[in-house]
């Protein structure tokens, strides 16, 4: 970037300092600016301060939370499961049995241990993209198969709100078939749709959502999601 506006009689602009620290100056301008530093005591400080600002910005985003793909989340369930199974096995060794998440904890184990004995997964659908939904169902099937194969307990609930409730209706035969197939195969898999969304769609868009028979109606999808998370369910965004 060519800049010929600065000279020994004119203070160096912030634009020029920015261009300098961003490596946007030509070699000639860069050398010219460097020669100014010798004549201007404050210039080095201004450059330093601007560079520090840039580095601070870069540093702030150097380590950010990873995106949570369903595959990664699904994988992340397995270490939890391993821990849960280990705790459960320990319980058995100690002569403690009959631990189920919906039963009162009479085992003597801390509540957290009994809760971890059964993995509970909530899959949250918010988008009406059928391709993405089919992909999610495919991942779910793999998850359920894996748990079943390992004789491990898992409970999966798919909650849809927003546009995603349409996926649980009869509008998409491909998805309806998959849901019927999976529901028939796994009794530890359930589907729920948000009534608030359905009512809202009826009022605002005139849409009548005809839910699949495997889908239960819940008052609020979001409340369900929050409640499940509070109860220790693993959250996966579908």
């Amino acid at each position: 970037m060519k800049d010929s506006h600065h000279n020994s009689h004119k203070p160096v602009s912030d634009e020029l300092i920015n261009a300098f620290i961003d490596h946007q100056l030509t070699n000639e301008d860069r050398l010219d600016l460097l020669s100014h530093i010798k004549q201007d005591d404050t210039l080095a400080g201004r450059i330093c301060e601007m560079k520090q600002l840039k580095e601070l910005t870069q540093h702030a985003f150097a380590d950010i939370p990873s995106p949570h793909h369903i595959d990664e989340k699904t994988r992340s369930v397995f270490p939890r499961l391993a821990a849960a199974i280990a705790i459960f096995s320990l319980g058995l060794l100690l002569g403690i049995a009959g631990i189920y998440s919906n039963q009162q904890n009479t085992t003597g184990l801390p509540a957290s241990a009994s809760e971890q004995a059964q993995t509970r997964v909530l899959v949250h659908l918010t988008s009406a993209d059928p391709e993405s939904a089919l992909n999610t169902l495919q991942n779910l099937q793999q998850l359920l198969e894996q748990y079943s194969h390992n004789q491990q307990q898992v409970m999966v609930e798919v909650v849809a709100n927003g546009d995603a409730v349409q996926l649980l209706s009869r509008t998409s035969p491909a998805i309806a078939d998959r849901i019927a197939e999976l529901s028939g195969q796994y009794d530890n898999l359930s589907f729920a749709a948000c009534k608030n969304t359905i009512d809202q769609m009826k009022i605002t868009r005139g849409l009548k959502i005809d839910l699949l028979p495997q889908v239960k109606l819940i008052d609020s999808g979001v409340v369900q999601v929050i409640q499940r998370q509070r109860d220790g369910w693993t959250y996966i965004r579908g």
Binding site: M1, S13, D14, E15, N18, A19, D22, Q24, C48, E49, M50, Q52, L53, K54, L56, T57, Q58, H59, A60, F61, D63, I64, P65, S66, P67, H68, H69, N161, G162, C194, N196, T197, S220, G221, V222, V225, I226, R237
Partner: protein
């Protein structure tokens, strides 16, 4: 036939470049939105749109700037949709108070991120493209569809604003990591 083969090879090459730079796009989207899931969605949307419209990319060397432009449009669409629908459910999800987030906001990194998100969209876009994507001013100009001169002036004003915001950090949050950024009157 030869054209089709070349075109397929070009698409493959561009797709690979997009995949290789996914983390950088994600970082940029995160700096705009401050939400890992939304950032991931934005990258996903932008990537899908880019993959579907490689034919409209005239200069392959501008792939990243072009994709950032698409992602920015995705983000603006999202912001507009959010305003239009004002879905209480969504608001409660996004705006929920998270103790973990509140705790982490006390550290320098979170403070700087918050300051960047407080900037106006124009200033934030330029700063994040230059500092996080390490774009040249020309690439920023292409991404945002503004002249290079405007890039420079927005960058200048944006950084000045950021400096002021950082200088307003409460004393309890001041750390050794940021000894030089103080307001000088």
């Amino acid at each position: 036939m030869s054209f089709m083969f070349k075109n397929r090879a070009r698409h493959k090459k561009l797709s690979r470049q997009l995949c290789e730079n996914r983390n950088r796009f994600y970082k940029l989207a995160y700096s705009w939105s401050g939400d890992s899931m939304l950032a991931d969605d934005l990258v996903q949307d932008a990537t899908q749109k880019a993959l579907a419209s490689f034919d409209s990319l005239k200069d392959d060397s501008k792939l990243q700037a072009w994709t950032c432009q698409i992602m920015l449009n995705c983000y603006r669409d999202w912001l507009r949709r959010r305003k239009e629908t004002l879905d209480i459910d969504e608001l409660s999800l996004i705006g929920n108070s998270n103790p973990q987030r509140e705790l982490s906001s006390a550290d320098t990194t979170q403070f700087v991120r918050n300051c960047i998100r407080q900037l106006s969209e124009n200033h934030r876009n330029v700063i994040t493209l230059v500092d996080l994507m390490e774009f040249s001013y020309e690439e920023v100009s292409l991404s945002l569809d503004i002249p290079v001169g405007t890039v420079m002036s927005r960058l200048c004003r944006g950084r000045a604003q950021l400096k002021l915001l950082l200088a307003d950090r409460p004393p309890s949050q001041t750390s050794a990591a940021n000894p030089g950024l103080r307001r000088v009157k």
